[in-house]
Point group: C2
Chain length 455, copies 2
């Protein structure tokens, strides 16, 4: 049995929804279908979720929101009409939106969550109606009845395992289940949404709960590539990789699949397939627990800019028990998570994402370090990029770090930082932003272009 999730572009129009239905009905194993809200049909288009956010904000500001409301309804009407559905479903959707708009606005977060969730919820109803219309046994399941139970921490919504038993029963329902992504309900019935892109999470939770054979994630690319296609021309596709590899790549700019969405599938070892709604015949990328590492040691190379290094130097630092801990605590108390902490004997650098640290925070942190740790020097350097070589086979391969470092040197770039730990699936190089692209290109040549001859 398979759980399929379709992203925003896959369900943005009637034509796209027909492709989805073709895909779902072409394989009887495709039992549970998780859908996003309609996304962009063309590059300047608006996503329905963004329209709903604007609509909700208007309503909160007591402004006239009628035209915003009609714009959302029109998106659904256009889909419904083009699918040949009668206007019942459109009236239902309009009534649903008016109901949501008239709800209590005391709890702003809850009101906005309720508005945002309308995108997925109504799209699921519409797609279920279309399946029925063409004679396929199908039904919409609301996350509340379905069992998508979440905790009540609005700032960090997570699924609760207590819902799994109910979700697992979806297996036994007759026909195809159409389930809206992106939101769940707390024990007391309060609606909560996941982060943006949260339909991936819904699909993964359900796939884990029903112990699916496969969780298919349909999007608008043929596969995950070994490097960023906007930098490397026609990069090779990744046919198979492990959860850990996907996670490492996602960290540094590979945004194909939602970070948190991997967890439920990972915990239950459900294979995840990334496929293209517009080219379902393409093999796609399969994410699994283990792969044969001998075939390919390096599976992909990711690069991301926007890092800052805070370098702290203190003579005999290494004899001070607790120095590193106290330094990290300063960042923790400022609410900043860090990425790496490369260290020498008497120095330690904290590498963070620059966007997490405002100028004010930076000044306060530097002052606190001076005051609390009495270092010899604190130096803040911006404009770092991290280049991450990912591959489970790397740890067993003698000479791989040498090849990588040599490729970066060959590109004329200076390595500012290297971070490789024991048993790791990644090798991280820090370079200056200006050296990022040329380093990435040379690394790609080294590890993925067979005919590449070193200059």
């Amino acid at each position: 049995m398979k759980v399929c999730k379709f992203g925003g572009t896959s369900v943005a129009s009637a034509d796209q929804i027909r492709k989805v239905v073709d895909i779902v009905t072409s394989d009887s194993d495709r039992k549970i279908v998780v859908v996003s809200a309609p996304g962009k049909r063309f590059s300047d288009d608006s996503k329905v979720t963004d329209l709903l956010i604007r609509l909700g904000e208007r309503a909160l500001a007591n402004e006239d929101a009628e035209s915003d409301l009609l714009e959302v309804v029109d998106r659904y009407r256009s889909i419904a009409e083009n699918l040949g559905l009668d206007s019942d479903i459109v009236h239902q959707i309009e009534q649903d939106l008016r109901n949501r708009l008239s709800r209590d606005k005391e709890d702003i977060l809850l009101f906005m969550d309720t508005m945002k969730a309308a995108g997925e919820d109504n799209n699921a109803k519409l797609i279920a109606a279309y399946l029925q219309f063409i004679g396929v046994e199908a039904k919409y399941v609301c996350p509340r009845e379905g069992g998508l139970l979440v905790n009540d921490r609005p700032e960090r919504v997570r699924a609760l395992p207590e819902g799994d038993e109910r979700l697992a029963k979806l297996r036994d329902e007759p026909g195809i289940i159409v389930f809206p992504g992106f939101f769940g309900y707390t024990e007391d019935g309060t609606l909560r949404t996941f982060n943006r892109g949260g339909s991936d999470i819904t699909g993964s939770i359900i796939a884990a709960a029903v112990k699916a054979d496969l969780y298919e994630n349909f999007t608008d690319v043929d596969s995950v590539f070994a490097a960023n296609p906007t930098v490397i021309e026609n990069p090779v596709a990744i046919e198979k990789m492990t959860y850990r590899e996907m996670r490492e790549l996602a960290y540094a700019g590979f945004s194909v699949f939602h970070d948190e969405a991997l967890i439920p599938a990972f915990r239950k070892s459900i294979p995840v397939s990334i496929k293209n709604t517009n080219n379902p015949e393409a093999p796609g990328t399969l994410i699994v627990k283990e792969r044969d590492y001998n075939e390919q040691q390096v599976i992909g190379i990711a690069a991301d800019s926007g890092f800052t290094a805070i370098y702290v130097d203190k003579f005999l630092m290494n004899l001070e028990i607790g120095f590193g801990r106290r330094l990290l605590q300063i960042f923790e108390e400022e609410g900043i998570s860090y990425e790496h902490t490369p260290s020498g004997i008497d120095n330690l650098s904290i590498i963070i994402r620059s966007r997490f640290m405002t100028k004010e925070m930076e000044e306060r942190i530097v002052e606190r370090i001076h005051k609390e740790l009495e270092p010899d020097a604190v130096i803040v350097e911006h404009d770092y990029s991290m280049i991450v070589l990912v591959g489970e086979g790397m740890q067993y391969t003698t000479g791989l770090a040498a090849r990588a470092a040599t490729a970066i040197a060959r590109s004329g770039s200076n390595i500012e930082m290297i971070n490789q730990g024991s048993s790791e699936v990644s090798l991280v190089f820090g370079v200056k932003v200006k050296d990022e692209t040329k380093s990435l290109k040379e690394l790609y040549n080294e590890f993925f272009v067979k005919s590449y001859v070193q200059s």
Copy 2:
């Protein structure tokens, strides 16, 4: 003006002390002489400090210590007689030892400190007497009168800056000052010793306080070498290096100069010279604040075994603010200082010196990590070696990490860990113990053997 410190082997016998006196009197800038206790005269010999420790322990156990006492006195007698001194000084030393032995033994630490300090104290008196005997204006100065003031934390004795003013006055004393190393006094007059090898510290404190032009550290090697001479045949001598470079080398097995001893000299930018008492004409090694990095990017390569890696893996670890801090806190609460913390996206390794962690502590730590951090995996790996490439020029040199990693690969060794941070003076490679020597040899070839042709 120069402060000279002579180590144990340099003052172990009358012949050695004559060499010391020749060195001191050959340069009128050599004003303050810090001496150790008599060390070994031959490889099976005992150091006087070790004899004193045995003597003190006998006394504490209420055992007959007379023969142990006489063995110490005999060592001084043999030196005094061979220097042609009359027996007055030997009687003084014997009386001093008997006085120390008869002191209150309630505070065991203080009693043992008092016994241990007798080695340096009496040697300083003896050498001052010999200088006077041959007609050189000289006097012994007791650390209490001299101003070597220390804090009252017996477990971590440190010089207090409040003593500096008094120490600085040693400059104005007539003749040569002979000052015993290794111990100082607290504000209330309690004797406290530094760590073993603490005479280096005494010399450095005085050199800083009197603002010496040079702090000469006389020992039994011609210079600091670029690599361990027991592994690399005839390694090149280091003529000049920076404090930071010395410190990095000292960390991984270069034990020429006491770690803490560098601090006072470093803080006041006093150049430190490592010289050989037995070959004072050799240029030695000069340790300074800055050097011309273009001449030599890599100054030395150190290697040390006995490291353990504790690897912790948790899916989405990197989204948990405070994960790394909480992990480090467990080690801090166990009183274990760590060396490096290489990290991937979802994993973190703590590299520690194996000797700091007993089997029991290891089990407790692993249990705490499981309980408090709920990781996916905790793996402890022993038998790591760290190889440290040291050089202030490295950070400006493109391709250096590549050359190093390539050399290690060429030796057939696998790199388990790499740690290079921003602005650093060192590049640290972790390898398995079995690969340490061959990696070190190949790195030495790469960076120090000009004629070396890559195989």
